[in-house]
Amino acid sequence: MASINFGYTISKPRAIDVDRNNLRRSDEILHEMPELQTCIGCGSCTAVCTAGNLTEFNFRRVHTLVRRGEYQGAYEEMNKCMLCGKCRLVCPRGINTRGVVMLIKHKLGDL
């Protein structure tokens, strides 16, 4: 097809489509660390994040996307984490955030 040069292509939707996403890996992650599901989205982790203050890295955003089945780029994002652990100290739900980083990298590394 496309014998005609239209000068543009059909934009791809960026909505999170839960019907299309495969939640298997996300379920595995939550099965191993159910505490991640107790996140109340307060953002303390992101506020104190060392990497987040130097880069665009947003821990809350990345792990939330992973829980929705949006894995693309999550591994690379998590690699920005310096594992300093400050987030774990501030999390009001006591989530082992550092462990979350390790687990997500472990589960999604082979993507």
Partner: protein, 361 residues
Amino acid sequence: MKRNSWKEYQKQIADDRYYYARSCIRQNFFPGSEKAFIDILQNDLGRDLLDDPKHSSCTGIGYHSDIVPLETIMTVVARQFALMTEAGYENFVASCITSFGVYSEILATWEEFPETEERTRENLLKATGREFRKPASLAHTSDVMFHFREEIARKAKHKLVNALTGEPLHVVEHIGCHYAKIFPKSGIGGSEFPYVLAGMIESWGGQCVDYPERRHCCGFGFRNYLVQANRGYSIANSHKKLESMAPYKPDFIVANCPGCAMFLDKWQYAIAEMEGTTYGENGHGIPVLTYEEMAGLVLGYDPWVLGMQMHQVDVEPLLDKMGIDYDPAAKYLGRNGKYIGKPASAVVNGCPPDTLYDMRE
């Protein structure tokens, strides 16, 4: 489709003596529809409608492309009202959804911020020496068609039913965002379940299709279509709607807004050329009609007189379904029957090339 709330959104629609405001896109791409509206009102329904040579565009496309300031479009609109006032009319009908939205928005703004109306009156006087009265009623042309739907049904030569099976045709109605999303109470049926087209379809024997992206925008998005670099957005939104409606196998789409009708027709062509995807029956696109064309067919107008040859997606499959008698060979003739060649074939009309009517010849 089920709806139970539309009766809660009613509005006064004048019964006669309309001051008509022309649409930029309607006259460019569907001049036959515009003619049909005027003919149906004047000839079939015997109503008085003034087509004033002095009136202009509302400049709404410029306004929503943000190059025409609010104060300017207010003054342009005020001029239209002044012409209406001078002509001795008070029922304003706009034949474009964006215009209708603009007129509604400006009248509401004048109510809420009276200083803006004062300023507009000064501007208009200064620029044209004209003064105006606000319309007693403001309607979109489809509101007027809706108003007369039963009268049209009584005069109907064809119904929106499959002539072979007697089944009602399945119709996708696309409303056009600015009809009721800006002011839900200004549209028949409100913004969630608009009834303006559904009312016509049901009165004329058809059946509306509810589908997940029914309320979604066609994707015009003003600057998003007008600037070529942005058209990926525009086509993507129509693509989203077409993908969503296709499984319901609609017999045709009818649009409330000139722009939507044009885009849902043309984007099917572009999508077919880009990806080879078509959404209608046996490799064809879904015919897209304006409500004027739909009314015209019901009243027995000739499809080529209605200008349906100007659609990119062939309408013949629908005409055949409705059992409408038409001359395939006359489709692409110029004025006075002059032969002016034919459009090149397109994937959306079912490759391999050469169009339906040739095969019938």
